[in-house]
Amino acid sequence: MIKKIAVVFLLSFPVASFAQESVDSVMARMKPDIAVKIAYQEIRYMGLFDDEWHGNGYLYAEIPDVMLKQQLQPEVEMMAAEGSQLSYSKPATQTFHQLQIDESNPMMASLSAFKGMMTGNLVYLRQLYDLKFIASEHSWTLEMMAKDHDEGEAPVRIIMQGLNEQAANKMAVILPDGDRSSYVLSQPEQGLAIKAKLAELLQTLKGH
């Protein structure tokens, strides 16, 4: 009996090692065929706020280089990264900005990271961050530390987590001054309908 258990145990080693996640396997899984949509819930902890701040909405992405964050609550807001250009719109205050993405800006860093993750662009992420991947029995963690940061300031840290064989389900962005945002992410939905929806949202955003 002991012998049988030992054989099964030994045989399970390669199987377990085959099941082991890597940054490449995670990114390959995250990369959508056409377009992807993820629902998110965000909590921000900020030193200048008395209470934590809550928001939720959807993240959309399309390969090779498009990403859109549609915040539905507490107020409708949209932010899109297309190539190196960032567009931001808040209909309630009729605010619209269009600017070049500055990856050293911590607030934009999370968007860049989302874009890299959701489009499965490992090359892009490696350009901007030092990556550290930790795999455990049931889950994986990807820690990203921004390469570009001001002297005397800590770099922005982004931590993504997910269950094995699945896309990320949590993300945390930790800013140099200690402020942070936590995201809970749903599992991705894909398809042509998502692509059409993303195109529609992008058009709405640009038309303010």
């Binding site: 921000r44 900020m46 030193g47 200048l48 706020f49 008395d50 209470d51 701040w53 932010m79 297309e82 190539g83 190196s84 250009q85 960032l86 931001y88 808040k90 205050t93 900005h97 600017l99 070049q100 993405i101 500055d102 050293s104 800006n105 911590p106 607030m107 934009m108 968007l111 800013l175 001054d177 402020d179």
Partner: protein, 772 residues
Amino acid sequence: MRPSLASLFFFLCLPLLIAVAVFTTHFQTNISAFVIAGDNAEEILLASEIQSGTLSRRYILSIDAGEGKQVSAAFIQTWLSQLKSISGVVDVWATDENRGALAALASLYAQHGAQLYSRTPEQTLAEILTESALAERAAGLKQALLSPQGQMIKKIAVQDPLLLSLNGFKNIAAQFNNQNNSPSQYANFILETQMSGMDVPEQIQIQAQINMTFATQKEQSQQVYQLDMTGIPLFAAATQSMMETDIKFVSIISTVALTLLFLFIFRSFRVMFWVFSLLMTVMAVAVIITNLIFGSVHGMTIAIGSTLIGVCIDYPIHVLVHAQGMELEQRLTVIKKIFPSLLMGALTTLIGYVALGLSGYPGFQQVAVYTGTGIIVSLLLTRYLFPKLMTAKAKAVAPFRFIAFWPVFCQRYRWGLISAVLVLSVAGIVQLDRLQWMQDLQQLTPELDYLKVQDKKIRERLVSMEPGRFVLVSGDSIEATLQRAEQVYLRLDQVKQAGDLEDYFGLYPWVLSQQQQLINQQTLLTALTQKQRDFWRDALQAQGLSVQRLGELDYSQSEILTVQQVLQSPVAKLMSNQLVLAEQQNLLIIWLTAHQPEALQAALTDIPHVHYFSQRDMLNRMAVDYQQRAQVTLLAGLALIACLLWLRYKSILLTLQTLSPAFLAALLILALWAWTGEAISFLHLVGFLLAVAICVDYGIFYQENRSGHLTLTYQAMAASMLTSALVFGCLIFAQTSMLQTLAKVVSCGVVLGFLLCPILIKPKQISSVPLN
């Protein structure tokens, strides 16, 4: 001294003289230095800034990705790093680059919010410090903290909770949002070089490397982008290369043509060598003297002044025609005899050039000195050296058939020909009403139109400021200049409200005078009562913001922001095309978008040291001024020539006769311009003056006929006319249209003057016996 020793000494000294001229002279090719001069200290400082300051050292580079496409960020990043490594490039940055400026908002401006929040503090505070406005401000602060720029806002808010330091920037952001019409298919950059834009050889190398790095990067990334460039260095390089090509080409072609002509007329290489050596001496001395007086010699001076050959060659030609083949003693006697005519001719020509120098064009002062020196040197060398260079071996010149025929024909049909000339002259006078003056100096350089079109195209991709029109504020200290500018901003606001100005870009909110900063802080501290502080705390609480960290409104500690601090920050880049700091005077430039010039001028007229400045209008005003001055001085010059001739001949009839070929040739040329509708510029006047100066010489030579042999005199005139017409005619092959203009005017003028002499002047005697 024996003749051989004199010539040996001369031919030994000539290379030395040429070497001195070439190696000690500072040659200049900046076209604006040739035609632009300021009327007042501000314009002079600005002109020097345009010629050698920061503005002159910058290129605008624009990449076009094609319709609906975007320039890749990776491409830009790699290319910019390659550009920065080019030797002589100080910096390159995107025109919409705001990272440094945004960082400065948090690191520099946040601590000076109390000083910089407004130009009209009472009005601004009345709007900001009400209960509802403070509630709105707290809501805005919260929104800003949650926005993509939240991190920067956080840094500002802890120093300046009311975000007063951003107050002025609200307008500037709106301005740029309204003005920035750059479609995303373009990526625009500013490249600043270390050396002046007028340092053409260095700039040409930089331009080549910019193009090379772009082509390499394009190939590596397999993109189909297009690069366009503009900037003063590009114009300077184009002008210089055009000028160099012209000078080389025209020099070669005119040398070949002149050589052939000389061989045809004098049939002797030896004679040609004498005359050309003399001319080279004349030009070398003229270059050295001009360089000594002005510190440099402009390429245009040499180009226009080289036509001096056409005038200076006349003196040795006369000597050659009259004295070639004679022994030294006889030569000297003949030269002594004809010298008074040459001297008179030289004097009248000098008067013309002095008049030209007084016309006010900075370049023409050089041309006047250059040609004046040349004429004097040529005359003296012809009188005292040339007879000793000549030998008796050269053959005497046989008159051409036409030379013998034309004066005789004119004498025979004199009245008929005079009548025909009179009819033509009257018809010409009638045409003069239609004469048009060129009002726009830019028409002088149509060959650079392609660069002007490209410049306009690139600037349209940027903020739509009018590049050549702005408000110029000056002051002996930077504080005085800023205070004056703040008065101007208020006036411009009024013009804007009246709808006569779309927008303007001054130095506020980046810089404010110290006086205004102190007023702002005092007004704020007075207005911030306990009541306002309570409103603010309540507003923070209502938004869920930290009262502990944002509720304390302490604006008493902040200090004045100095211009030096700003100039040491990344913001300096944004201001460098608006601020010119010099020891005696400072200039501040307020850029304007679409506007009504008259309304602006009227609004600013009573503020001292403030000018509405239009570069194009200034140039055109200068053109009109120069034309008027040139007309007056030319007329004065002609009157002086007439007086001089009257003093010599003591006869009005003889004077008029002598001048008549030149005047009628000039009249017919003017009539031709009027008839063809060619707009005439100061350059036409220069050509006009040259033609008159040369033709007056013909009149004097023909009238005085001092050798007593009319055919020889007319033969000498024919040789002079042909060389002048040929030298000037060669300029028609130049690319520079300014030189083409000279070619047309002078060539036609001298031919006409030459033909008119036998018709209009009845000479003293006609002899068919040669002097020798």
